[in-house]
């Protein structure tokens, strides 16, 4: 029983670690991701649009299978976890071999290895010591520092470069897992929300994407917000002056713009939108006495009362951003500042009269003509709000670390070659002394072969003048067999 369980585990492990499984999983991820871009996704798509695009039966099917929210469906997350396991299994399965290669380099090639190595050459030499010495010098010239390997009966040379390249693929796989880890942490512990602030107000309540509300243990205050536009009216820049208030103390403040958020205790505040609230901020008027006289400029805020002279005062009582008149009443049609109207009370203490002053003068309601002052609007400033996207992504550091690690890993995978060279004194078939040189590279082999040939030529040149007898030997044979 235990045996069969063991073999089942072993089989599962084998299947999981095979490259075939990896490719099948990649194909599945590709298919489902593609489906997620073609099928309309909730919650981004309006429910009405969904209903228009699919028949009710189809929509029920898509909803029940999770195809309308592929990237958050349980089976998709399970698939991603399976991919992670496959990467882990494949890496663990292959790692010991690579590690052996990495930790215990093969330094003295035996005869069998020498026979089958595809990149090799043999050069006749006069003496062992002098031949190896020359080889050492030439190798150094080509950037290879060699070490002398002492065997019971002879010396040989071993040299290598960039052994780390053998580990590169594991670096890449580890970085991918790190990115996944960051994504999982964010899916579990991260959140996103939105907060709207008017200049002067502060808040610690975040409206979450899910519709719930979240209370932060510090609050954010808006000290100002604004917009700059291009001449054609398209927005150029949105900015907000924000301050962090923690336990009644202002910790710090920052002016944020799009692409430059404020970060406090892992919570990031992004400039997302900007607009008008439909509430009045300041009204500027010119007031002229009806009997004639000098005009004066006054400013009014909501419900504020300003004295026009010793006897008369004006108070702003109502602001309607988009008004419409029906049956002698004024209603607001929307909150957009489209067609604004203001209602003021002009009060005279001595006569104890109050006049309803409307701008514009709405017939039937406004009593503008009986007012002791004529009021002309000069400027109307409505309130603004700044929309802040708020997010908390504790896993993002794992993601960025993974990205950096992957860049390093890929550089090693593609551009750093593990090259090895061996130089062994041998006796050839005729009993003459010769130098056997072999080389291997784990990638970019054609470039390595060219370099190897150059190295051998150089070595031949160096060896010739010192061994005139060598001229009688057959020329050095370089073999570079096809792969």
């Amino acid at each position: 029983m235990a045996l069969s369980l063991g073999s089942a585990v072993r089989n599962t492990w084998k299947t999981l670690s095979s490259i075939k499984t990896g490719v099948v999983l990649i194909i599945l991820v590709v298919i489902f991701s593609a489906a997620g871009t073609v099928i309309l996704q909730r919650p981004m798509t309006d429910p009405d649009d969904m209903a228009r695009a699919y028949s009710p039966a189809m929509l029920r099917f898509l909803d029940s299978t999770g195809l309308t929210d592929v990237f958050h469906a349980r089976w998709f997350i399970a698939l991603m976890i399976l991919v992670s396991f496959s990467i882990i299994a494949a890496s663990v399965e292959r790692f010991p071999n690579a590690w052996r290669f990495f930790a215990r380099p093969y330094k003295s090639p035996d005869e069998g290895f020498r026979r089958v190595l595809s990149v090799q050459a043999t050069i006749p030499i006069a003496g062992e010591e002098q031949g190896l010495g020359t080889a050492e010098r030439v190798l150094r010239k080509f950037g290879f520092h060699s070490e002398r390997i002492v065997r019971t009966d002879s010396f040989s040379l071993f040299s290598e470069k960039h052994r780390i390249s053998e580990m590169a693929v594991y670096i890449v796989h580890a970085s991918l897992l790190l990115i996944f880890l960051g994504g999982i942490v964010d899916a579990l512990y991260g959140w996103r929300g939105f907060v709207m602030l008017s200049p002067g107000s502060s808040s610690n309540r975040i409206e979450m994407k899910t519709g719930a509300e979240r209370t932060l243990d510090f609050s954010i205050r808006c000290d100002g917000a604004g917009e700059e536009t291009y001449t054609d009216g398209t927005p150029k820049k949105w900015w907000s002056k924000l301050a962090v208030v923690d336990q009644g103390r202002e910790i710090f403040n920052k002016e944020i713009v799009v692409n430059d958020p404020l970060v406090y205790r892992g919570v990031r505040f992004y400039q997302a939108s900007y607009g008008r609230t439909g509430k009045l901020d300041k009204l500027t008027l010119n007031a002229t006495p009806a009997k004639g006289g000098a005009a004066q400029e006054i400013s009014l805020a909501m419900n504020q009362s300003v004295a026009l002279d010793a006897d008369t005062s004006v108070q702003l009582v109502e602001f309607i951003p988009d008004f419409v008149v029906q049956d002698g009443h004024v209603y607001a049609r929307s909150n957009d500042v489209e067609n604004p109207a203001v209602h003021m009370l002009v009060t005279s203490k001595k006569a104890s009269t109050t006049v309803n002053y409307w701008l514009p003068a709405i017939s039937g309601i406004a009593e503008n003509s009986s007012s002791p002052y004529i009021l002309e609007p000069k400027d109307l400033k409505t309130g603004v709000f700044t929309g802040l996207e708020v997010s908390h992504e504790p896993g993002q550091w794992a993601v960025w670390a993974g990205v950096v690690l992957m860049a390093i890993g890929l550089t090693f995978v593609f551009y750093v070659v593990h090259a090895r060279l061996w130089v062994v004194p041998v006796t050839d078939a005729n009993g003459k002394l010769a130098l056997w040189i072999g080389g291997s590279a784990n990638r970019n082999r054609d470039a390595f072969e060219v370099k190897f040939k150059k190295l051998v030529e150089e070595l031949q040149k160096e060896l010739k003048p010192e061994s005139p007898a060598g001229a009688e030997h057959p020329a050095a044979s370089t073999t570079v067999a096809g792969r």
Binding site: I19, G22, V23, I26, I27, V29, V30, S33, A34, G36, T37, V38, Q41, D49, V70, F71, G183, R192, Y230, D232, T234, P235, K236, K237, W238, V257, V258, N259, D260, P261, R268, Y270, Q271, A272, E389, V390, S391, E393, Q396, V399, W400, V403, M406, A407, L410, T411, F414, D446
Partner: protein, 452 residues
């Protein structure tokens, strides 16, 4: 003789399209004129490659490479002009990205030619460049101010990397095709592939077929230079009468070689192939006809719509897909004819199969890290602009899919030792996905990348 006429025709319609849109007065060194110059030179280079196909004169290739240089210089001028005028690197809209893409493609073509000795690579890349420049003529080209989210250095890093990566992918595609030629893939297999591609194009166009032989195209608001929307994401279509019949006719013509190929395969009858090749020739002439009629009718004019009362304007700019598909189909078929008639010359001029296989792999080794960095830079930018590094938006998802396809290629190649044909097919698939990510997602699927 007919061949010469055909090459002449192909150059003529390129110039025709160019004149329709770029013959503007004003400063000689304006961006439009520089771009026009680039188009003429790229077209010249493409024509010279085809000329080589017709006559087999090798010196044509040298002149073609010279023309590419000239085109690249004009293109550089256009890029610089744009950059200066806009005050930011030209990556902010589809128009600007195409400008940079074509530039990169031409530069890489010359590098491949000089550095790796792949002399005729332009035969494949130049048509792509020409389609790119023609598309640019139709897209909005005035400098538009950047909305706040696009004002970031990371955007430029992201898009530069994307252009480099995509151009490297395009190159690997061209190299994989050449490998298949050198690998003695049968000419009739290319015939089948070309036919399937062209049939696919016309099937896609005919999905817009409207009753009574009309063809639906998107309405165009000439004043604001945008498509007409009747609801968010819902475009207004107008019907061009009778154009549907013509497309149906051409569909029949391009399907004929495929049918003949299948027949010859089933009946093992070689003589049918000769007829199929002739059918390709006829289909090219009909395709040119379809293109000319499409341009004439869709360039402007008022047409009725099924969804709204009255007549609406359309423009070539509203149908960049149909237009590039029509041009792409013609080029694919011309390239097939080049292969059919000059295969021996091509085989002599191209590097051998082993070399091409290796260079394809090396190109992907360059493309893959660039793709990775491109996605990373995009994620970092998104994190700064929207507060989230990954949104599963369609463009992001498709970039990830592209990355996965190439990752699959590398795994099969490195651990399974995939060489030769299978690797070449994989490289071709990878580029198809790249093209979909670049064009398809922008036009078919909506998302955060909507400005592009």
């Amino acid at each position: 003789m007919t061949l010469v006429v055909m090459v002449g025709l192909s150059i003529a319609f390129l110039l025709f399209i160019a004149f329709l849109n770029v013959a503007k007065s004003g400063n000689v060194l304006s961006e439009a004129n520089l771009l026009y110059g680039a188009l003429v030179f790229y077209a010249g280079a493409g024509a010279l490659y085809l000329g080589f196909g017709v006559t087999g004169t090798e010196s044509y290739i040298r002149f073609a490479s010279l023309a590419t240089w000239a085109g690249l210089i004009a293109n550089t001028g256009a890029v610089a002009h744009r950059w200066y005028e806009a005050g930011h690197p030209p990556f902010a809209s589809l128009y600007e990205m195409l400008l940079s893409f074509v530039w990169t493609l031409a530069a890489l073509t010359l590098i491949a030619e000089k550095r790796y000795g792949v002399k005729v690579i332009g035969t494949v890349t130049m048509p792509v460049a020409i389609v790119g420049v023609v598309l640019m003529q139709l897209l909005r080209s005035e400098v538009r101010p950047l909305v706040p989210a696009l004002q970031s250095t990371w955007l430029h890093v992201h898009v530069t990397l994307a252009m480099l990566a995509y151009a490297a992918c395009a190159l690997s595609f061209a190299l994989a095709m050449m490998f298949l030629i050198q690998d003695k893939l049968k000419t009739e297999t290319f015939l089948a592939a070309t036919s399937v591609f062209t049939v696919g194009i016309y099937a896609a166009i005919l999905s817009r077929f409207e009753r009574w032989g009309g063809l639906n195209v998107v309405a165009w608001d000439a004043e604001n230079k945008t498509e007409v929307f009747i609801a968010p994401h819902v475009r207004l279509f107008v019907t061009i009468p009778d154009l549907g019949w013509l497309m149906l006719l051409v569909f029949g013509a391009v399907a004929a070689p495929l049918v003949l190929y299948i027949l010859s395969y089933v009946k093992k009858n070689e003589s049918l192939l000769a007829i199929a090749n002739r059918a390709v020739f006829i289909s090219i002439l009909l395709q040119v006809l379809a293109l000319v009629f499409f341009i004439l009718r869709a360039r402007d004019g008022q047409y009725p719509s099924l969804d709204a009362e009255g007549l609406y304007q359309t423009s070539l700019a509203a149908s960049p897909f149909i237009l590039s598909a029509l041009v792409g189909g013609i080029f694919a078929n011309l390239l097939y004819l080049l292969l059919l008639w000059r295969r021996q010359d091509l085989e002599r001029l191209l590097p051998d199969a082993d070399n091409l296989d290796r260079i394809t792999y090396k190109t992907i080794c360059i493309a893959f890290p660039l793709l990775t960095l491109m996605i990373a830079a995009g994620a970092y930018w998104a994190n700064r602009a929207w507060g989230s590094y990954w949104n599963w938006d369609p463009k992001e998802t498709w970039a990830a899919i592209t990355w996965l396809v190439y990752a699959g290629y590398l795994h099969m190649r490195i651990t399974r030792g995939w060489r030769g044909r299978r690797a070449a097919y994989f490289a071709i698939l990878g580029f198809a996905v790249v093209m979909f990510t670049f064009f398809g997602v922008t036009y078919l699927l909506q998302g955060l990348h909507a400005y592009a």
